[in-house]
Amino acid sequence: MDLNPIWLTLKLAGITTVLLLATGLPVAWWLSKGRSIFKVILEAIITMPLVLPPSVLGFYLLLAFSPQHGVGKWLQQTFDVQFVFSFQGLVLASVIYSMPFMLGPIKSALQQLPVSLSQASYSLGKTKWQTFTRVLLPNIKPSLLTAIVLTFAHTLGEFGVVLMIGGNIPNVTRVASIAVYDSVEQMDYATANAYSLILFAITFILVVSVFVFNKYRLKSPLE
């Protein structure tokens, strides 16, 4: 069995999770403060991938980044970057597709912290950054862990959006979920089963671990 789709999937999930963690933390913090109409609309847009058929998202990404026109053409000509049928395209699609899984838990955890925690820190002369890293983040550890694991696990399971923008190129865009579909199409049920079982096992271990961890180790101190 070719293990490349599994490695590719893990690489995609890893990169997506790191990128989303780095961008998601400040965005979630910003969204957790106040509720202007602009923030509400932005939140709705970020949440869209939860309910939108993945093929629809993939279709529009395919159109947007097609090297024949618009943004895709400009990116190709200016930076020699192509998002369609490439690994970076998968990363971009995954970041958009998994964004609500990273932002949602972090944002609601931050909103649940009493505003007086930040105020107490500010009154001690601490900057917003110090307050975020020393006071807010340590007190949302369980939700942070949940967000990281959910994002990783969700990216492992992507299919529609990945197929639309990435296609099925071995070693480049052929991730495990697509390899399953491909194997079934070729009536190779044994290989499909092997890929499926590996994906199932990884996801199961991840999700169970986060539940166990949150139950015994990182129970929210505010509960």
């Binding site: 107490a120 820190s121 009154s123 002369g125």
Partner: protein
Amino acid sequence: MIRIDIEKKLKTYQGKQVLKIAGQFEQGSITKIYGPSGAGKTTFLKVIAGFTQPEKGNIIVYEVTWLDTASKISLPPQKRMAGFVFQDYALFPNMTVMQHLQYATKDAAWIEKLLAVGKLETLTTHKPEYLSGGQQQRLAILRALATKPKLLLMDEPFSALDPEMKTELISELKLLFKELGTTVFIVSHNPQELEGLTELFISL
């Protein structure tokens, strides 16, 4: 001298009301703020600390303008560094007693002194969830004092303390305030508490 003259709209169950407070307070004075629930006592403290903005007014603390809505000056809470004791304590669940104080100051001798005043010397490694209500409240007071603030704002700071502890703590705190030259505003519901202090009645 601290000069305060502010106007802030409040949303109450009786509709929109305006909180208007003006006064001058000597350095080192302790003022007890009292008044009915919902009158804006906590809001008044939060305006001084810079957590919320009034529509109109100015706050001048020892010749430094903290707030002047006319010339659009409003120092952030980090620059005002008013000590603040929150009604809900606002302790950091991730920090031990010692870490709370070390987060606020690097002065180890001062930390030792504060711990003795609050009688928390034996509990330095405890996190708030393992402290009693009274111990949590004392920690909140000590943390607010850790930065040696020139202005201290206390919102119902003794509500969880037994009478004996309260009397003892108050007399020790008065000595600390004197040593630091701290001006103090204390919100209190209890008319008998803190007798003999300057009083400021707030009502809408």
